[in-house]
């Protein structure tokens, strides 16, 4: 069985795994299972199809194929792919929502508003 453990170096939470609590780290992570709580990751987070994240997220970048319920803050980009479901607010310099994705929430790209346009933001 030891050979299985050295097979891959990617950090993966498999489809039958549920994590409740706080997760932090500095590497890429693939979620095929379920996370509830808080995630702070200096890396790329992939929520695979079937993966469910009910958590507030702080990541470098994120790619959602599954389901996310919670606010997402990304220092680089948020990508919501076809078939994904996101309920929460997204804040990142780049937010990409693909055709076929479901999104319910606000997007904040920290856009510079043109002069003379004051919307109280």
């Amino acid at each position: 069985m030891a050979s299985v453990t050295s097979r891959s170096s990617t950090c993966v939470l498999g489809p039958q795994i549920a994590v409740r609590g706080a997760l932090s780290g500095e590497e890429d992570l693939v979620v095929e299972g379920r996370i509830e709580g808080n995630v702070a990751l200096a890396g790329h987070l992939v929520v695979a199809p079937g993966g469910v994240v009910e958590a507030d997220l702080e990541v470098s970048s994120i790619e959602v194929h599954g389901e996310v319920r919670g606010d997402i803050v990304a220092s680089r980009s948020i990508t919501i792919e076809k078939g994904a479901m996101v309920a929460g607010n997204c804040r990142a310099p780049r937010v990409i929502i693909h055709d076929g994705a479901k999104f319910d929430g606000a997007v904040d790209m920290d856009v510079q508003l043109p002069d003379g346009l004051h919307r109280g933001r």
Partner: protein, 104 residues
């Protein structure tokens, strides 16, 4: 089969439950409850009470272990806590403090 790997820079503070093998290279604090196999690798740290079928420890575990099949402490591991399992293996070079209960 998909394998769950907690990478070396990952820290989880809370609870992990599930139904598949778990490889720990990072840190897990709290509680772990699985019906499969846990591998704590050299860099892995478990500060948790553990319920599992089997556990193989190369790294560090602080907490009580209840393994329904087997608990194996490899050389160079450090385990502090009570172990309850029908089969408990402690390799030469392992460091362990706690009680062993094989009546489980």
């Amino acid at each position: 089969m998909a394998n769950t790997v907690i990478g070396s820079s990952i820290v989880i503070d809370g609870e992990i439950t599930g139904d598949e093998d778990l490889v720990v290279r990072g840190t897990v604090k709290g509680r772990v409850s699985l019906r499969e196999n846990i591998f704590v690798e050299d860099s892995g740290v478990l500060e948790a009470n553990v319920e599992t079928a089997t556990i193989t420890v190369h790294g560090r575990v602080t907490g009580d272990i209840h393994a329904t099949e087997r608990a194996e402490l490899k050389s160079n591991c450090r385990v502090v806590g009570d172990i309850r399992s029908p089969r408990v293996l402690i390799a030469d070079g392992a460091s362990f403090k706690g009680t062993v209960d094989m009546d489980a």
